[in-house]
């Protein structure tokens, strides 16, 4: 197995693990952390292709992904804090005021 194949599979594994965590865990903080893991899988793929093609554009996109991930984590955690103040729980099954 060549190093680049290993790195692409690493990115895919991180993405799939993040997806698994976002689907089966009930704590909203773990879901947010799994989303960060997914974004890291994408970053690894971008940087691997940037290394393969000799172009820094992949690293530039990874930079933007890190920036957007920071913004999204901050806003998501603020929403989580507001919901926690209301319901005293972070379980996504119990934050269901909008349900029919």
């Amino acid at each position: 197995m060549s190093p680049t194949t290993l790195l692409l599979i690493f990115g895919a594994c991180l993405f799939a693990l993040g997806l698994l965590g976002a689907l089966i865990r009930r704590s909203a903080i773990i879901v947010l952390m799994s989303i960060e893991l997914m974004l890291n899988g994408v970053n690894v793929t971008f940087v691997t292709f940037s290394y393969l093609l000799g172009d820094a554009t992949g690293q530039l996109f990874s930079l933007f992904v890190i920036t957007v991930a920071a913004c999204e984590a901050a806003v998501g955690l603020a929403i989580l804090l507001a919901a926690f103040r209301l319901k005293s729980t972070v379980n996504v099954d119990e934050i269901n005021l909008l349900k029919w």
Binding site: S2, P3, T4, T5, L6, L7, L8, I9, F10, A12, C13, L14, F15, A16, L17, L19, L20, G21, L23, I24, R25, R26, I29, I30, L32, M33, S34, L37, N40, N43, V44, V47, T48, Y51, L52, L53, G54, A56, Q59, S62, L63, F64, I66, T67, V68, A69, A70, C71, E72, A73, A74, V75, L77, A78, L80, L81, A82, F84, R85, S88
Partner: protein, 166 residues
């Protein structure tokens, strides 16, 4: 690039990611996520993207994870009730994630195996090239990213503020 060090880095990253989603305590999950982020930074530095690797450590493992740990400490009320309930959606979730991973691995095996192009610049020039791209060709996304940061800063403060007592 030697395969064995890469194997160690990717192994650490994948295993800590796996442990992250299976822990009962969210604080331990956060620590495993920090380990996974640091292994990704190691991979970045091994690939010659040193600026991005340092940014990964400073921003992701440094700032975002500290924020997440703060929120974990603020929202954990009962330490004894860290129950990990096997949800009824768990088998479907595992099926979906494993299916997606199988698809990705098939793609990687058919697209990987390439070696880097013959004329790639050495890694010491990657930062310079990144800076040049950022301020010439990708200037508009750069400016939009700064506006996004400003908007998310204001939004976080407004959303997380306590209601003043009436």
């Amino acid at each position: 690039m030697a395969l064995f060090p890469l194997l160690i880095m990717t192994g650490i990253g994948t295993l800590s990611g796996l442990f992250m989603i299976l822990q009962r305590s969210p604080l331990r999950s956060a620590l495993f996520l920090v380990l996974s982020l640091l292994s990704v930074a190691m991979v970045f530095i091994a690939l010659g993207a040193e600026f991005l690797g340092m940014l990964q450590i400073i921003l992701y493992a440094g700032a975002i994870m500290v924020l997440i740990i703060f929120v974990i400490l603020l929202t954990t009320i009962d330490e004894a009730k860290r129950v990990y309930v096997l949800h009824r959606q768990t088998p479907l979730g595992i099926l979906l994630a494993v299916g997606l991973l199988a698809e990705f691995v098939f793609l990687c095996k058919s697209a990987g195996g390439r070696t880097p192009a013959a004329g790639i610049p050495p890694s010491s020039l990657a930062t310079e090239q990144l800076g040049q791209l950022l301020f010439t060709r990708y200037l508009l996304p750069f400016e939009i990213a700064s506006i996004l940061l400003l908007v998310s800063l204001v939004a976080t403060i407004v959303l997380a503020k306590k209601e003043p007592p009436a």
